[in-house]
Amino acid sequence: MSASLLILIPLLPLIGFLINGIGFRRVPKGAVGVIGSLAALGSFAVSVAVLSAFKAAGSEPQVVSLFDWITVGNLNIPFSFQIDQLSLLMLMIVTGVGSLIHIYSIGYMKHDEGFGKFFAFLNLFLFFMLLLVMGSNYVIMFIGWEGVGLCSYLLIGFWNTNTNYNNAARKAFIMNRIGDLGFLLGIFTIIATFGSVEYTEVFSQATGLSIGDPVVVTITLLLFVGAMGKSAQIPLFTWLPDAMAGPTPVSALIHAATMVTAGIYMVIRSNVLYSLAPFTLEVISIVGIATVLLAASIGLLQNDIKKVLAYSTVSQLGYMFVALGVMAYSASMFHVITHAFFKALLFLGAGSVIHAMSDEQDIRSMGGLRKKLPITFLTFLIGTIAIAGIPPFAGFFSKDEILAHAYEHNKLLWALGVLGSLMTSFYMFRLLFLTFFGQFRGTHEQEHHLHESPAAMTIPLVILAIFSAVGGFMGVPEALGGTHQLAEFMSPLYEGARQVNPEAFAATTLSHSEEFMLMGISVAAALIAAIAAYVMYVSRNSVPAPDTAERSSLERLVYNKYYVDELYNGVFVKPIAGLSNLLYSFGEFFIDLIVLGTGRLVKGVSGQLRQTQTGSVGYYIFAMVVGIVAILFWNLLIR
């Protein structure tokens, strides 16, 4: 595998960014979308080539060094890429789903005046995301990590004339910074402990440590704080629903399929460290399941089509962390992949609906759209079934695998997971029924305007729908007579972890009948929820109450998202703002005094010293002689 081929993968989107970014307003509109999409498709094609070369070469992980980047003392940080099973899987998702979303955006953003800027940012995002997944050390991952955060900020606030959107962008950025601080401290601790940030070096040294070593627990907890921010886990999840202020393709690409899974990627990448820290794993599974339930319950009562999907994303990310917490790394990755398919599909479908509804996002004003938007409806239906976990669609296999591992680990964890799955199925079908069934509830103008989206938008929908339908077959459990190809593919990644913690990787103790029972229960839960939703929203035709309606106190609590935002506002934002104001009014005086005083002092000394530069050669030579005499006198006589 040549370095020149590999470097093309991130380079193409970067070139796309430069062309569209520098040539903004000069590149013709028709060319912008083509350049942006070709950049993404190009790097997808190269990724496919790299994948097949990798398999042909016997699936040996490779580190391709580009150049020495930073050398400080004993710490050497090369700029290099690591190609192995994990980075290849992420590459396929990022470039594959990314390409589809680029193509979709050509249709979706056609009427926007910031068309060129949009594609430039999308390409830049791809570039950073690719650095994140391809880098062979934590520092390159960190650059990608910060870069995607920046692009996320830019794209959430894309329509920057709206103050609320800008606030949402800022919120995302600041919450992520909190996580980033943890991540950064984690990297520093890694440097202090292992003296390197290269994955191969760090992990091979880590295999020498014992399980539960406090240093490893510290490192993994700090890194997990970073993951909490990026992957929107409790307590740093509130930015993700607000991030829906960005254009819908952005929500699909960044806030569903790729960037928010960076935290999971990072944990799987560091699986050796995590396998050494059972305490951290315990924390991860608790945070994960709590996030699943909290976000899913909020999703039950939301009325904004994108907000429902956003909470659903938070809750699905929770499932992935539950899987990580029980050391089912492959299952987590499996869910990352299937989730990328069906959640991107659902977001793009929602985008198609919003496009048709002239930017209306409230599902109370929709209804009956299945006749006007047949393709969107069908694909959305497939996405809903997939996420609800109904076989044989993709979500069933991945979620079921996570639940099975949870059951093995702890029965309560499993039960809560099934409860979450029940809620997932309910809110998704509620969304589906309210949007596509019943009577149209919007204005007359909107009804007149309703239309199916152009081919640039529907083709990606269809492709994603196919993957959402059949994507699960890459990991059919043994109990159903299949082979888990994904787990086999990823198995070499856990060599180190298996060495340090062999018990965790022992073969499953579940019998086939137990597995069948688990599957039965979760499918039954999903079906019951779906039927309940059907009864409520189709048979009885009920519509959620308007915002002003009276609600019971529990309902109000959930409807207002448990007042988490208000809580953070009261506990963190207001006191800090108060302190900041205090320091501003009071501290500014002293700081000015010191700063201006120092400045005056330096200037005064400077003015005095300047006088020595008289311009007279005689004086200069005299000064030199004094210097020479002083030096000789001191060195030769006094010492």
């Binding site: 020495d68 330096v602 000789l632 060195n635």
Partner: protein
């Protein structure tokens, strides 16, 4: 070795080219000759340490790297001369010839193995500089600067020669190896004649790189000389001078480090203080750059005082970063000073930069990057230069010196940013300045180098 011969011959060729009617051939010819010299420099690359001229001149990869920095700087500077077409009084052939000869001197003091070679080299370099400083014949300030430089330079040369004589008296050797042999003996480590010789030679050298209190000539000379030659002095003389001091101290006197380092440390601190603090008060950008060059001599002296295994590389990196940033800063200054000239004289004050960015974003950007690099802000080469220098001092435990250095860098930010603020935030009516394509390439190249090595300092190490 090859560049010495080539440049000597080609310098004479340039003088003869001056007899031709058309002066247009001179600039491309000089650039071509410099490129040839640069190419010939690398003939000895990776050939291991070599000795030439009966063991009086040595060649290693690091001296070749210093040569390369000097030659590349000269190339960039010559490319900015535009053939001296603006000035009718100018004698382009002589100027180019003298510049090529002065490079011979610079290369000799980078690689000398024998003090006579060093002395001849530094005189070739200095005499060339005296002439170039006074090249603006009708300008009294230029004449004055030249005379001052010559008088004081002659004085310093006397001191230096006295030092060399004492060293010979003490050791019976002119060669660096011979002197080291004497220093390593018990008698040598205690010889007061040797000490006096070292101190006097060092003082002469420190004069050439404008360390305090031997710096007084610098502001007057830099200010009075035509800007293009100021650039030449502040980059090439400084780089070669520091390479020479390093050579002397590390090859011959590392054994008596404890004797000389305190003196050097005091001079370092004094230089840092004078350079940075007085720069604050200047109203002329050019004069500020003169003080800035004193302050950078101070930073380079830190590396010398520390004298660790990394010192030569850190001096190399620092000289590169400093030279490139200085060249682009003077490049922009020359354009602005000519555009804003008052009564036919270039205007070199800060005010001339007001409102530069509006019509000339590229120039403002080049200037900003160069100022950031000189101030040592991260993501520029100047940051890593300072970082390497400071970390070598930290390795030696010279913490008090570092404290002064860091405080003085903070002062530096004040005067470097003044011009950036003037060009972006102050109101002014600078029209669109036409920049010749070649000139523009030099500015952009210098900026790209600054940013490239700022992003990936390891890349520089790999080139070696």
């Amino acid at each position: 070795m090859y560049p010495i011969i080539l440049l000597s011959v080609l310098g004479i060729v340039v003088l003869f080219l001056g007899f031709m009617k058309s002066k247009n051939i001179l600039l491309p010819a000089t650039l071509l000759f410099l490129a040839l010299a640069l190419g010939s420099n690398f003939i000895d690359w990776n050939q291991g340490p070599l000795l030439y001229f009966y063991g009086m001149f040595s060649v290693t990869n690091l001296t070749l790297a210093f040569n390369a920095i000097v030659l590349i700087s000269a190339f960039l500077i010559v490319a900015m001369t535009r053939g001296f077409q603006d000035d009718e009084e100018a004698q382009p052939a002589e100027y180019y010839g003298i510049m090529l000869f002065s490079l011979v001197g610079a290369i000799m003091i980078i690689g000398y193995e024998h003090l006579i070679i060093f002395f001849v080299g530094i005189e070739i370099l200095s005499v060339a500089m005296y002439i170039l400083t006074g090249s603006d014949k009708r300008n009294l300030r230029s004449n004055e600067a030249s005379l001052k430089y010559f008088l004081m330079g002659a004085f310093a040369t006397g001191i230096m020669l006295f030092g060399i004589a004492l060293l010979y008296g003490a050791t019976g050797a002119f060669s660096l190896t011979g002197i080291r042999g004497f220093v390593s003996t018990a008698a040598g480590a205690q010889s007061y004649i040797l000490y006096a010789g070292l101190l006097l030679l060092l003082i002469g050298m420190l004069f050439k790189v404008s360390a305090a209190p031997f710096h007084f000539w610098t502001p007057d000379v830099y200010d009075g000389a035509p800007s293009i030659f100021t650039t030449f002095m502040s980059t090439i003389v400084k780089t070669a001078g520091f390479a020479a001091i390093f050579r002397l101290l590390s090859h011959s006197f590392a054994g008596i480090y404890d004797f000389w380092y305190i003196t050097l440390a005091v001079i370092t601190v004094l230089t840092l203080f004078v350079g940075n603090v007085v720069a604050v008060y200047q109203d002329s950008f050019k004069r500020m750059m003169a003080y800035s060059s004193i302050s950078h001599a101070g930073y380079l002296l830190i590396a010398l005082t520390a004298l660790t295994a990394q010192t030569e590389r850190s001096i190399l990196f620092y000289s590169m970063a400093y030279s490139v940033a200085t060249i682009s800063a003077f490049g922009v200054l020359m354009l602005i000073a000519k555009e804003k000239s008052l009564d036919g004289r270039p205007n070199e004050s800060y005010d001339a930069f007001n409102g530069l960015a509006k019509q000339n974003p590229l120039l403002a950007f080049v200037l900003t990057v160069s100022m950031l690099s000189l101030a040592g802000i991260p993501l520029t080469a100047g940051f890593w230069g300072k970082f390497f220098v400071f970390s070598s001092a930290a390795d030696r435990g010279l913490i008090w010196m570092l404290v002064v250095a860091v405080l003085m860098s903070a002062v530096g930010i004040y005067y470097y940013f003044r011009v950036v603020i003037a060009s972006y935030m102050k109101e002014g009516n600078t029209g669109k300045i036409r920049v010749a394509p070649f000139y523009q390439i030099v500015l952009v190249a210098a900026t790209v180098i600054t940013i490239l090595f700022g992003l990936a300092p390891g890349f520089f190490e790999q080139l070696l």
